[in-house]
Amino acid sequence: MSLPIGAERQPCVTPALMPVLSTRWALAWRHMGVVAGFCGLFLLFDLLPLDDSRVWLNVRHGRYIVEHHALPVADPVQPLAEGMPFVATGWLAQVALALADAAGGPQQVANLLAAFGLLGALLLARAFYLRSGRLSLALAGLAIALLAACSTLSPGCPELTGITCFATLLWLAAKVQRLDAEPDCDTDRPSRTMWLVWPAVAVLFATWANLHNSFFVGIALLACLAIGRLVEVSVAERSVVRALGNRSAQRWILLAEGALLATLVNPYGVNLWLDGLGMQWQELLASSGDGLSVSSFPGMMFLLSLAALAVVFRYSRRRVQPAEVAILAAFGAAVVVTGHAVPWYGIAFVFAISPHVGHMLEARRGHATPSEPHRSFAASLACLLAIWCAFAFSPASQSLLGRERSGSNPGLYRAFPWGVAEYLRAHPPQGLVFAPTRWTNGFAWACPAEMGFVMTSDADHVPRRVRIDCDSVVRVRPGWEQLLRKYNVDTLVIDKQRHPDLAATVRRPERWNIGYEDDAALVVRAARAAPQVCPIQGGCCDEHRPGSTSAPVRRGRTSL
């Protein structure tokens, strides 16, 4: 293009790009690191096989609830549990899992659980941040909590929903503790945050009670916080009665009580408490024999935590609060009694000591204020990119992006005998199926609802006699075949690696026919000839009746 003669070339003025968004949305590059970390965590949760087979049993139970629009009155998978007390603790989680399964199969179940896991991790990190005031400490605390959880729990475990609820509670508790720390905390006018905390706690516990029976852990935490606050105020006021009139102490006590009452919002009411306490008691009895082994990974973690506690309390100049002592004592005692409490202890431990660690680091740094990190929209965009990448790479995007994934049921646990499941589907047994409980959980999900199993991992639902007999069968004790006949078992699924004696014993064609075999599993069917059934050819009752020579003896009460 040519300019007209005489015209001068004018410089092109382009307006500078100005952000329309508030600078609140601008993030620092270290935030990008945190976001990338959480994205990675989500990918990990989503891609790991769900090795806890109980998740598939939960899906099966949830399927029953969805199909019948009612809670089961007896275990729907174990016919031998009929008549045993049954409370569908976690029915809400089971329904959610069943709906996810119906929507997209195992992968959708894995996606749901990954979302739960991510939410729990985010809330834990937020709670630890509120307690310590430092992002690095919050992330370190989260790492410790995850390590503690992984020491005893597998991906996809039912406890995941409970841990997410626990994380929510810790976040709320940290917020309330911040209110307590404010100078005017004992004024009559509650803050807006406090008004939100009350319904939040109520909703949290009402949901928790229907998701998982670990809600007692939350009640225990609130009770520790309430007791701790009461002790603290009592010492300050030198009077327990005065402490009871303290607004902050009252708040914690009422929060704990309100939470307990909120758990009554469930289909079973108080019976859920009784069942939960009964289960905890049974778990205690079951684990009291072996306890927490010091040589095990959870045991070593517990010892390390005690050492860390000693160091932190030695060097922290922050006053140790009675609530922290109560939390550490209560959750520590639980770990000593049962190793199942390790994940809860790990989380509570970080919650209790994080302010002290934060204080120690602050004291070490002196009074120098940390420099405010440089924020830019480029970092924000990078965060969005990281989130998109995580979503795009995760199987969760499959339905949205329409990609085909190779391999069937990637979310199902490793070493699940798919061949056996297909065989059982193709050859449905007439009687019950006896199989290792870990596999039974998966079969319950993979096979038709009509198929009944002797025992799943919910062994406490069946009578004690059944458990004893199952043990006798896997140990090939004398009379084991008679026991199976007693339970009308006609199909036996054997884990060849774990029960080689049983696998060797059943290779008798006169008693058992091999239906399926692969490297890991052996399926045998009872070799019973189908008896001929003949209709009754007429009756003779009327012929027998007449001509009675004697009336039956009427025997009254006989006392010698």
């Binding site: 009578p463 009308n488 004697s550 039956p552």
Partner: protein
């Protein structure tokens, strides 16, 4: 504390009182609920009588019956009488029977040996472990612990019930007095649907429980008659006590008791009838030409039913066991379950012939199952053996 603070403290205390009161009320209610849940169902003092339904002299005539019964008095007098013989004898003859044979125990003596520890200790010696032992809840009978113990769970109790002894019948234990009701209490509480041999427990409950009110076992399982019946029908046909034949008897007793006490649901009743009809059909098909049945009575073998297997001393015992038990069951069975008359007649006549040919030593050794044979034949004449003892005195 200012006035507002005082009000707040008061409200706080009031909330605590209300919550504590609520908790106490819930606790009390739950405690009552638990007590009610764990309570045992109502029982009738006298056991229900399930009389025979037929009288057919073609199965066994008077003379044949008298001859069979004459071979089966309880010649059990002497040291260490085996409990399984005693309880079968009590069930067979009843508590009021008396015999001229000096070796035969009377019904009263048999009942004493079973239910009075002094008589038991006299017969078995003081060092023998007692048959009756007071347990945590009720009175326990020692089972499967040698000849001085009961051969099956609740067999003594079912014998006592079938013999017509009431729940207030006195029982003497090493630690004092009790009643049959204490034995029933122990049985009800410790019953397990999955226990080995539930047949006799089921029979006792059918005869003594007044209604279908469920109860909770020691395992925490709610027990109903429907579940008991389903449990009985769960095993393969020939598994169970006496080749599975007690199960058929129990289910029929359940059906008969249900007519009076409404113990079963209609669906379960229908299932039981179908199950028993199926068992009858198999028996009719598998009956040997001579009239007996053997271990393959469920018709599960491919051999033709008419084929006669060579009868040996070993094979005779199961033949007598099964044929005697089956006829005993059919004597109580309603028309819809009963077999063609020819089947019963052939079986009855085979029993008469076989028992007639048995030596006294054989009778002594097989007294327990022969008591079923004698009772079955008497029932097919419409009455109990004790009645014939009085009315056929020449054979006594």
């Amino acid at each position: 504390m200012n006035r507002t603070g005082s009000y707040r403290a008061l409200i706080f205390l009031a909330i605590q009182i209300v919550l504590l009161a609520g908790l106490a009320a819930v606790g009390r209610g739950k405690s009552r609920e638990t007590a009610a849940r764990w309570s045992l169902p109502p029982v009738s003092n006298a056991p229900l009588e399930i009389p025979p339904l037929y009288n057919d002299p073609r199965v066994v005539d008077d003379a044949q019956l008298a001859a069979v019964l004459a071979k089966l008095p309880p010649r059990l007098r002497g040291p260490e009488p085996r409990i399984y013989n005693l309880d079968h004898a009590l069930r067979f003859w009843g508590p009021e029977a008396r015999f001229r044979d000096p070796q035969a125990l009377s019904g009263g003596e048999i009942a004493d040996l079973l239910l009075d520890h002094a008589a038991f200790a006299k017969a078995w010696g003081p060092k023998t472990k007692p048959l009756l032992m007071p347990g945590v809840e009720g009175l326990e009978v020692r089972v499967k612990d040698g000849f001085a113990s009961s051969s099956h769970v609740d067999h003594v109790l079912s014998t006592v019930a079938e013999a017509g002894l009431s729940l207030d019948y006195p029982v003497a234990t090493p630690r004092g007095r009790a009643t049959v009701a204490d034995m029933l209490k122990h049985s009800l509480r410790h019953f397990s649907l999955n226990q080995y041999e539930p047949e006799f427990s089921a029979l006792v409950y059918a005869l003594h429980l007044r209604s279908n009110r469920p109860w909770v076992s020691a395992e925490g399982q709610q027990i109903t008659f429907d579940r008991i019946a389903e449990r009985l029908m769960r095993d393969p046909l020939t598994d169970g006590v006496c080749y599975g034949t007690h199960r058929l008897y129990d289910l029929t007793v359940l059906l008969r008791a249900d007519e009076k006490r409404h113990l079963l649901s209609p669906e379960c009743r229908t299932r039981i009838v179908g199950y028993l009809q199926n068992a009858t059909a198999r028996l009719v098909a598998s009956q040997r030409r001579a009239g007996y049945w053997d271990k393959t009575w469920d018709n599960s073998t491919t051999s033709a039913p008419a084929d006669e297997a060579a009868t040996t001393a070993d094979s005779l015992s199961p033949q007598l066991v099964i044929t005697g038990h089956v006829l005993e069951w059919w004597a109580l069975s309603p028309q819809e379950i009963a077999p063609p008359c020819d089947t019963v007649i052939r079986a009855g006549q085979w029993l008469v012939r076989t028992v007639g040919d048995m030596e006294p030593k054989q009778v002594e050794e097989g007294y327990a199952y022969l008591s079923h044979v004698g009772r079955a034949l008497a029932l097919w004449r419409g009455n109990y053996p004790a009645w014939f003892l009085k009315h056929l005195p020449a054979q006594n």
